[in-house]
């Protein structure tokens, strides 16, 4: 009775939304109000569509990051998985295009595979370290990040790889299908697949179980090592897909792609209510979380806030989100 009375009041409702979804609705509302006041261009259909298109890349990476976070870890190497994919696939495409100048689709396909394979190695390394050697995800993915980032720079000597097949950038960077940008279509497919995976398959349930209590999961006949491994590999592959889309967008293989995306994707997930302790998180909220981060960046750009200041604000936002996550977890555990 008391809880029903509490939820019907306004603070009670706020509390309920906060426990359910996290801090995102409040941040989103705050951002919309602040940036609308700061810039008249912000709340226009044109701008919001623009934000949606730009947010595709972060949303994708956040989906993978979410998977690893739910499994109870995190992945700092998503950025270098993108960079490595970019230079490996670009190098492969340029090389193959010299051999098969007529089979352009084959070149793109094999190039993409090369990129995926490189990123899969990054994911495997993370997974082996975390699952089989119990290395803390922080130090493992940090180390792998340096390793893969170094490899990407080493392969290219730091020089962008140019001369990609024209069709690649034309379709995957700037193409449209039924009027919708191709990257958006790719993202929508990934979001749908991820949603089905997390909520409709046994494997998805296992990821939640492992992140929630790994020992209990082990005693419930779940292959915890394989589950962790899978989470890191899928995360790296999604990052790799993002890397391909970005490579097509910039029309060259670049070792500095994805520089800030690890932090941004973690921020997007945490703001969207994915628990840093693992076991909690929802695909649809993470999509909104990625959108939110890009929206804030867009708003700050329109309000002519310098990019250095933007870094400061983004860091502050992440810390704030983590503090709210802590509060929320306490509320869940004790009953609100």
């Amino acid at each position: 009775m008391t809880s029903a009375a509490a939820t019907s009041s306004f603070p009670g409702l706020i509390r309920k939304i906060f426990v359910r979804v996290g801090v995102l609705p409040f941040f989103l509302l705050g951002a919309l109000v602040v940036f609308t006041l700061l810039s008249p261009k912000f709340l226009t259909g044109q701008n919001l569509v623009n934000v949606m298109r730009q947010s595709v890349y972060l949303v994708l990476v956040s989906l993978g990051q979410m998977l690893v976070l739910i499994s109870g870890g995190f992945d700092l190497s998503v950025g270098t998985a993108i960079a490595l994919t970019s230079v490996v696939s670009a190098t492969a495409m340029v090389f193959l295009a010299g051999i098969f100048p007529d089979a352009i689709w084959l070149v793109i396909l094999l190039g993409a595979f090369a990129g995926f394979a490189a990123a899969a190695c990054v994911g495997l390394l993370n997974g082996i370290g975390v699952a089989y050697f119990d290395v803390s995800p922080f130090i493992m993915t940090l180390g792998v990040s340096s390793l893969a980032g170094g490899a990407a720079l080493f392969l290219t000597g730091g020089v962008p790889v140019s001369g990609l097949p024209f069709a690649f950038a034309d379709i995957f960077g700037f193409g449209r299908l039924w009027g919708v940008p191709v990257p958006v279509i790719v993202a929508v497919i990934c979001i749908a697949a991820m949603w089905i995976f997390m909520s409709r398959t046994a494997l998805g349930t296992q990821v939640y179980a492992v992140g929630g209590n790994i020992k209990a999961a082990h005693l419930s006949a779940i292959n915890t090592k394989r589950t962790l491994m899978m989470a890191y590999v899928i995360c790296a592959l999604i990052a790799s897909l993002t890397g391909l889309l970005l490579t097509a967008r910039v029309e060259s293989g670049e070792a500095n792609l994805g520089g800030t995306i690890a932090l941004e994707s973690i921020a997007a997930c945490v703001i969207a209510g994915v628990s840093l302790r693992g076991g909690i998180g929802r695909v649809e909220n993470v999509v909104l979380g990625g959108f939110f981060i890009v929206l804030v960046q867009n708003g700050m750009n329109l309000a002519q806030i310098s990019s250095y200041m933007q870094m400061v604000l983004l860091g502050a936002l992440l810390i704030l989100a983590v503090i709210f996550d802590q509060l929320r977890y306490r509320m869940i555990m004790s009953g609100s």
Partner: protein, 500 residues
């Protein structure tokens, strides 16, 4: 003589739970006063407030007639009240001397005087009659030795009250004798001792008075000379034994598990079997290996030699998940650390076994949530988990309801052999009876049941056959009329296999 400690109307209200209900308790100098009660009766809550680890919602504590209020364990210690909790407050990576002087460090100038601390520690240990090297690393000591270090820590200040929480749970007979001698010497010095124990047979040896708690309230305080074991148990439970433990029909079926010469970490050459339709009890002291034996069987620790055969298949050294998929299920004694996902609802916890761990996925990679939900409801009904609790995070449920969820997981798994490790730890009487009924139903439906228990009455009354472990060996297998408390206790302290 004035009272050393006196509480008046001490009450602790947690959200939704009245942990302690207007408790009047007193302790006289030179007395051992036992607190006796079920898990969850309020003993721990009471001592946590005396120890300064917890503050009362209502009521007062008086020390030497003076009203006191402690905000921290440190404050209580400064007043001479020292508590040896079951969970030791030792830092395992530091030495004995460093632990004894933690917070009381001796200094020479600005620097620590390690030599003086070692010397003083040696002196304190000797004075108390403990044979422990002050330079030893605590992690390398036995549990009994760690407890001695813990007790030694109490002797920095002017010790007035010593609170001992289940001090003998992990000690051998000889160590218990030693502890009791020590307690007697403290009594002679006028120290008051609050003593928590489940071992009723110890009370006559050391205690002057016993206070029985049930559901947070004092049922009565009696002088040890005016009471007996049966009366105390009746006070504690509010009912007699046969109302708690159901009679389980024994239909001895085929042998389902056969363990031969199993040697594993902490286990030496164990051989036994389990049949369908029977309940095999496993008893032993903490550290006797009773839990480790079955953790090795489940593949949770490596098997060094010997064989484990389940339903005719050799599963020695198999992965735990394969053993579970084969139809064996293990319920951990620590539901919070290993059993449940506390932030998730009861329903989510049960779904894990139905979905992720289920033996029959039905071939499709996709989950049909409607079917899963129907099954979680069936299981919840079966374990009598109230519908109002099913969608709440498990962390918010009482110990008894958490245990019901844990029991539900073995139904979700549809196991043939179920190993219950301490199935009723921290569970109230009513729920205990309900859990025993579930065990009865499973056994009578032809499942094989193993109940590992530190609660001797439970182990004896629920099982058809009883394995007793001591020092990592099976010291006896008892059944029928041989299953008496005296017999079992004798084998608890069986030293034949002990490594010195």
């Amino acid at each position: 003589m004035s009272k050393l400690i006196e509480t008046r109307g001490l009450t602790k209200q947690y959200p939704g739970v009245l942990a302690l209900d207007h408790v009047d308790f007193d302790l006289e100098p030179g007395e051992v006063h036992v607190l006796f009660g079920e898990n969850g009766a309020g003993k721990s809550t009471l001592i946590s407030m005396l120890a300064g680890a917890n503050t009362p919602s209502e009521g007062t504590i008086h020390l030497d007639g003076e009203k006191v209020a402690f905000d921290s364990v440190g404050q209580a210690q400064a007043k001479g009240i020292y508590t040896v909790f079951q969970e030791f407050s030792l830092i395992p990576t530091l030495t004995v001397a460093q632990n004894i002087f933690l917070g009381w460090e001796l200094r020479r100038g600005p620097f620590l005087d390690h030599r003086a601390m070692r010397k003083r520690a040696r002196g304190m240990l000797e004075e108390l009659g403990f044979d422990i090297d002050p330079s030893a690393i605590v992690a390398h000591l036995s549990r009994a030795q760690q407890q001695m270090v813990e007790i030694t820590k109490a002797f920095h200040g002017d010790l007035k009250v010593l609170i001992l929480d289940e001090p003998t749970a992990s000690l051998t007979d000889r160590e218990v004798d030693h502890l009791f001698d020590f307690v007697a010497s403290l009594k002679a010095r006028g120290v008051g001792i609050v003593y928590i124990s489940h071992r009723i047979q110890e009370f006559a040896r050391i205690a002057e008075r016993v206070t029985v708690l049930r559901d947070g309230a004092v049922i009565g305080t009696v002088a040890m000379s005016d009471t007996n074991d049966d009366a105390l148990i009746e006070m504690m439970t509010g009912r007699s034994f046969d109302q708690i433990y159901p009679a389980i029909a024994r239909t001895e079926g085929e042998e389902i598990l056969k363990v031969s010469g199993l040697t594993a970490p902490g286990i030496k050459a164990a051989s036994f079997n389990v049949r369908r339709g029977e309940v095999l009890g496993v008893a032993g002291l903490v550290g006797s290996g009773k839990s480790r034996l079955f953790r090795a069987v489940m593949g949770l620790t490596p098997v060094l030699s010997g064989t484990v055969s389940f339903q005719g298949t050799d599963i020695t050294g198999s992965a735990t998940r394969d053993i579970i998929m084969g139809g064996m299920y293990y319920l951990s004694p620590d539901r919070k650390a290993e059993g449940l996902d506390l932030a998730k609802t009861a329903r989510d916890n049960l779904s894990v076994n139905i979905v992720a761990g289920a033996r029959n996925t039905g071939g499709s990679p996709f989950i049909r949530w409607r079917g899963v939900n129907t099954r979680t409801d069936e299981i919840s009904d079966h374990v009598e988990l109230h519908p109002g609790y099913r969608n709440k995070p498990v962390s918010q449920l009482s110990g008894g309801n958490q245990q019901k969820v844990l029991f539900g997981k073995c139904f979700g798994q549809e196991a043939d052999l179920i190993i219950f490790d301490e199935p009723t730890v921290g569970v109230d009487m009513g729920t205990r009876a309900a859990l025993y009924l579930l065990i009865k139903q499973l056994a009578e439906a032809g499942k094989a049941i193993v109940v590992i228990s530190s609660d001797l009455p439970e182990a004896m009354n629920i099982s058809h056959r009883l394995l007793v472990l001591a020092h990592g060996r099976i010291s006896a297998e008892l059944s029928g009329d041989d299953m008496t408390e005296d017999q079992v206790l004798k084998y608890f302290f069986d030293e034949t296999g002990a490594t010195q």
